[in-house]
Each structure stands twice: as C-alpha cells, then as structure tokens.
Subunit: 255 residues, 4 copies
C-alpha cells in the first residue's frame, strides 16, 4: 500500500509541514535572518512549494529550478523566477534541494558559491548534494555546532553545510505531533484495510489508499481546528451523483 | 477527451485565473474595497483556493465552507476558519460560491444576510445561488448598473446580486489571453491526439489528456516568462527511471 | 493644515487604497494577467509599498528602485530586489512610477523597453514619465481604448502607455467610498479645528492634524468592520502615562 | 539620545526581527505547528505587526486586540479581526502580548483559556502577563523543558507559559547578527554625534537621532543584499528641493 502518495501524506506532511520546518531547521542551525536573503530552491514539488512559500513570506527573494515544465509554470505563476542553477549560483545566500534526484548540487556548483553560502537538503535522501566531492584534501571541514559544518576552501571561502547533506527537516527540526498523527493514522488505516480486505481485492501490486480512507483521516483531524464540515442535502447529493458520506472526488482529483 | 481535468486547465485556468478574476469581477461591478471585509467562500476546490488566496492577500477576513474533509483540512492549514454557512451568514459582507453544487445559497440564507451584502457565483453554472427564490412579489429588483441588481426586502434591506447568479468571472471580468492560450492549446492538442491516434488507442470512453501533452502545453508557455528549464543529465534520468523528455510524473501526481 | 501627511491619509489612502487600485487600474485598461509577470516599481513610499504588496501577492516578480536608503532597506526586507532602472528595463513587462519625482522614466528608458511593455504612473502628478519625449515624428501613437495608447517605434515595437502618464488610480480605477470617507472626514475635522481653534493656536504656518483627531477619524470607521476596541483600565492608563481617551502615541510615532 | 525610536530600530529590530523571532521562539520551545492554529495578538504596534504577518503567512488564524483606533484600523485593513480578549479567550491556541502595557493577560483570562493554550510575551518587559497571579497554592507548576512551564489547574487543565512571561524573542530565540549590526551601528553613531556635536546643539533633553544618520545606517547595510541605490540627478534634486545626499524625508515621515 503506497501511503506516501496518499493526499493526506503528500499535501500535509510534505507541503504544510515543510513550509514550517524549512524555517525551523535553518533558524536552529544558523540563527540567520531570512529577510532580504537570496535563496534558490531546487525542485518545485510539494516540498519545494512549501519551502518557497515560507521563505517568500519571510521576505526572502526566491529562485526556483525545475525539470518538469508543469511544475516550472506553477513556479512562475506563484511569483518565482525559474532559472538554471548556474545562473544564480554566485549570488545566492542559501541553496535548498528538494528534487528527489541525485547530484543536483555538484562540486562545480560548490566551487562557485559565495562565501558563507548555506547549503541544505529537504529532499528524500542524502544524494541531492554531492557531499562526497567535498571530501578532498584541499578542503578543510570544521564542525561549528551540531549538524553544522563549515567547509573551507584554500582561499578562505566557507560554505555552511547542514546535516552533512542529509534531510534538514528530520535532522535539524522537529516534526509536529499533528503531522505525525496524520501520517500515522494513514498508515494504520492502510494496515487495517489490508487486514480486513476480502481476498482478491489486493493482488501482488502497489495500491494507493482508497480515497474514502484519505477522507476519513482528514475528518478525524478537523475537530483539532474546531472546523465545521457542511453536509450535503439529499437533493444536492443526488444532483452531484455522490454518496453523502463520500468519497467526494474522483481518483484523479489533485487537491 | 476530458480536457477540463488536465492539469494545465485545473491549476491554471481555475486556480491562477480565478485568483485574479475574483478581484477584477468584484471591482468592476461594485468598486468596493477588499481590506477589512468579511467574506465567505463556499467550496475550497481550485476555484475556491484562488478566490481565498486573493482576498486574504487584499486584507479580507475569509471564511470557508466545505463538504469534503480533505479540502476542509486544506482550508484550515491555509489559515481559513471552516464554518457552516449559517454561522457567518449574518456578519459577512460578501458571499462567493464555487462548489459546482446547487442551492448552496438558499432563500433562507438570503433572508438573513445583512444590508448591502454582495452575493456572487464563481462556480460552474447558475445553480449555486437559488436566484429563482428571489423572484417573489414582496422583493423588488433594481438594476443599478450592467450585471448588478439590488434585490430589496420590504424593510429596505438590499442584497447586491452580481450577474444574476451566473459566473462572475465570465460575466463581469475578462479572461487573460495567457489563460486562453493555455486552454486553447490543450484543446487543440487533444484534437490532434484523437486525430492521429492509432485505431484502438481510444475506445468509446472519456480519457484524460496524456501527461506528456500537458507537459508540452506548459513548456510552450515558459518562454513568456523567460523561464529556463533544467535538463536531466543521463545519469540523473537513469537514477530516476525517467525519459529525459518526460513524462516526469506518474499519472496520479497532484501538482 | 497639512491633511496629506496625517496618518489616516498616508497609511489608508496611499497604502491600502493603492494596494487595490493598482490591480484594478491595470485590469480595466489592459486585461492582463499578473501571475509570472516581471514588474519594476519606482519608489517604495506608501504608494510603492501598496503596489508591490499587491503584485507580489498576485504572483508577479517585483523589482524596486529607490533613492532613500531607509526605504531601500525596507524593500529588501520585504523581499524585493533593489535595482537601478537600467538593470531591469529590458526584461520587465510593467513599469510603475510612484516617486513624486520627475523624469524617472526617460525616453532613453522607453527606447530600451521590450515590446508590449506597460508603462503607468501611480505617483503624485504627470511628471514621472517623460511623456513629452514620446511626441516625436518617428513614433506613432494609436489610441486602442479609453486611457490606453500604443506608442509605436519604427521597428514595430509597441509600448502601452496608460492615462498618458497621468495618475492611474484616478484615471483608470475607482476610489472606494470607504477611503473617500476617511479622507473627507479628516479634511472636515481639520476645517472644524481651524474654525474652533482659540486665537493664537495656529499661526501663519502649515500644521499637521492633531493626533487626537487622526485617532477620532479612525475610531469613527471601526464599526464598519465590526471591530471592538479595548479600553485601558485606570491602572493601565496610569502605568503608561496616558489619558484613557488618547492620544495614545507620541507625535513622531510611525505606525 | 533616544535610539529606540529611530526608524532603523523601530522598523527593523521590532518589525522585521520579530516577524522571524516569534516563529523561532515558539518552535524551539513547543515544536508546535502553526497551520490552522487560532492565535490572538495583543497590540498592533511594530512588534504586533511582525508577529501577525508571520503567523498569517504560516496559516494561523489571527485575532488582534488594540486600544489605539489607528492601529486598530490598520489591523482591520491587514485582514485581522479586531476583538476584545474576552471574546476569543476560550477558543485560541496561542496568546501573544506585545503592548508595552501591564496586566494585559490577567488571572481571569488564564482561568478561562482552554487546555494546552500557549501564553507568551513579545512586549517590552515582564509585566504584560500577570504571572504573579499564577503563584497560588491550587495551581501546580511543572517545568517541562528550559523556558517552558506547564501551569496545572485543579481540574487538570494545563497552560503552557513560555519564559515565565519574560520576552520570548530574547529568552527563547536568537537575535540575527544583521539586526544586531543595525542596532549597534545606530547606537555607535548616536554616541559619535553626541561626542562631536558643537556645544549647544543638544541641551538636557531627549533627542531623536538626526535623520541623516538613520539614512547612513541603512545605506551601510544595503551591500549585504547587493542592493543598488538610485542617485538623484541635479535636476531631480532641485525639483524635489532636496540635497542629493539626503536627508530625503521630513522628520515626521512614517516609512
């Protein structure tokens, strides 16, 4: 059961949680000010969207890199300049990777960054920044506090590498209980579904969580916000061709 | 070919276009100021998300109603109080429907609104506001300018009804050429695809546009913004298991 | 009596009103989409701040020019790149002047703008754009709709000039009654104050409105928003050294 | 020399710094999520404006209390409901004081808050929350981590008190070097001015920093952001009646 792509995981854990943890992770490690800083965010998926929204709101000037033209166009419409990393690498104060890809930030990029540039990773593993390329004799590493390394070039330039390129949100921030609750509920329901499912419903394959369960997870968390859901009248349900208890959207709905 | 649910239609025409046309439509019809106004938006789909974001940015206080717990939770996380329409009907200055449903605003609601409340529809047809219920002898209609009616209660209360409950964005705003271009390109590509498709690819059914075409539509519009897309290296494409020319996402990806 | 610099004029008429009228004026004249557009705003006073905030919220990429280092630093902290006009003149889609100065946009700038660039003025008079310099034989003027001229270069390039360089917010937008009410109330109170003032209070000079009147103007408009003001307790007023009825701030307070 | 009211202190240290430190202080002490939370901010001065903007951007629903009708109207226009504390005390998740006043949050308020409500102070001293009133026998204090106390009511209700009511931004967050630099530069220039001033310029009184020095402090910090200031031409300076090197604004200008 592919829980990672259920909507409550994608939109809540990735988008909303990262919107907060990017700020938290950067503050706890570097105590930097966001206002006026130039930042490049590599990747404009849910995590990238969260990071960009948060930093824009804090007064940073944010650039985005993307490989997918749809996400790229979203970045444009959200007010971010879409660039190649090389175009801005010399001027940015912070580089954040959230692509799910490997070697997005290479040694060549690192060589061209300006002094005291901060480099960190919010993506899915420790592959996005080519940290191995920094383990060469001419560079000096200095641990300045937990999870924060200065990598020092022969000319004195220092790059601030966070969490050695591992996930900033897990290494240097905390995961709010609210998000844990959503994700854990989704996982638990997936297990219950698998356990209770009549034989034959699931074959040897990967499945998305049934939408109704996604909706159930969400509905369980609404009281936290004192949120009041509207119920369909019989007439409205008939008009829309929906069951009054959901599911309310087709499977391809994007939220 | 279901073009309406392709991502370039849903996210661009609905979300980004409505984010602008809700402001435009309200300004051209009412010349009102948005700052400090209390607004309720019925429905938090793409259209509702666009309306809410725009009005929040202009300093309005926005409430949301929803029937779908997932969209409801999104509204919460985006900073909107989720209410039932009855809870706020007496206090709001503007009511905007974007549910795709019928009779979301009923005569009972209209009776309880405060004087000079503005009522309009950004949804998919003219069913969302029960306008027929306002055609009763005790209410007087006064056309104050094109697309703007005052409906006057016996006690003198006036409700400002826009476009007689039809779509505000089509009736009282303009559609930017950029959005027209995206939608028209999508439709043209769908027709070309149907025309060129080898026999048997499409049966008597409704299909979503192939993702690669969605991506192609987007890529055609990037130069407008002087946006520079990054290309995958061979090594990265292999790592991700993707073709360098796309498609870049699985079909269920939500953007 | 200098009413223009009273806080209810500066912050409400200039900041909040322009935040809305820049969008309104541009939409009504050009039907353009704001998302993804590159815009340069000349001047980051109250008017410029309002224009920048609105366009940023609509997804534009906004650059700012300034002569005053304090306002310039504010622009940085609010997330706008501070540039000289020449640095971005070739790439921007819209140029907005709000400096109160003259010849901020010169013929030289106009010659370098890209095709279909929109030029408009939100400042205090028609001096900011050197419109006279466009009245030369090699340029053709074409009136495309009320308040909108295309100025056409010999090579076919068109510049879209709004309101012939006069104030966009007055020429192509409407002033909301709420703002009119605040400004008119301020002016009326100033006249009443002058009329009632004991001889000798005002000499042959220009005065700012007494702060207590500014506060009175504001308090008269709070019920519009169903806003509930908190009253100081006697103990608190004593602690702060204030009269419970105001004025609540020293004269140099900046809001 | 009153450095606290110079514009670089008021707008930068108070507004921009607090916009970041409110989030930082809350995260480091409570690891809470901001999205969807209901917050009341007492006081809408520079500090309150910064707190409100940050929390709104993170998806919180923010209420404001004010005693000054001008600041109150600003809160309305910025999209915050203006309430008395009693109206929302039962429903909010976080209470933040930034009034400069005393006993803004009283024992009566604390008795009515809901379980796990967070109470903190961003104002000027430790007087805003009546912490002394919580030192009574029926309440139990539990230190859960540094700077975080649970105050426990007989029925089990817990209030989360941060920094024992002292300043959150100083106790539980860090002050970025950029802000320190602005404030320290301002103070140093004030001392230099006092030292160099010809006898008689300053009498036994409190003075604001001369505007030209404020501008100088700002200009020293522009290179950090690679910000390019525009210079007035001779003709423009003459038109505006200004010296090309400033000061650029009258003393009453509010920024």
């Amino acid at each position: 059961m592919n829980v990672n792509d259920s909507v409550t995981k994608q939109k809540f854990d990735n988008l909303y949680c990262c919107r907060e943890s990017i700020l938290d992770g950067l503050k706890r490690t570097t105590d930097m000010m966001f206002g006026g800083k130039q930042v490049v965010v590599c990747g404009y998926g849910e995590v990238g969207k969260g990071c960009c929204a948060a930093l824009k709101a804090m007064g940073s000037i944010v650039y985005v890199t993307e490989i997918d033209p749809i996400c790229a166009l979203q970045a444009c419409m959200d007010g971010f300049r879409l660039v190649k990393l090389n175009e801005v690498i010399r001027q940015v104060d912070i580089i954040i990777t959230c692509t799910g890809n490997k070697n997005v930030v290479t040694r060549e990029h690192l060589d061209r960054m300006k002094n005291s540039c901060i480099v960190c990773n919010m993506g899915h593993s420790n592959t996005e920044i080519d940290v191995a390329s920094l383990r060469t004799p001419e560079l000096t590493w200095e641990r300045v506090r937990s999870q924060v390394d200065h990598v020092i070039w022969p000319d004195g330039k220092r790059i601030v590498l966070l969490a050695e390129g591992r996930l900033l949100n897990l290494s240097c921030s905390t995961v709010p209980t609210f998000v844990l609750s959503i994700t854990a509920t989704t996982q638990a329901l997936a297990l219950i579904e698998l356990y209770n499912a009549p034989e034959g419903r699931y074959k040897q394959d990967v499945y998305l969580l049934p939408k109704k369960m996604d909706e159930y997870v969400a509905s369980l968390h609404l009281p936290t916000f004192d949120a009041h859901l509207t119920e369909l009248t019989d007439e409205q349900a008939k008009y829309l061709g929906l069951n009054k208890n959901g599911p309310f959207k087709p499977n391809y709905y994007r939220y």
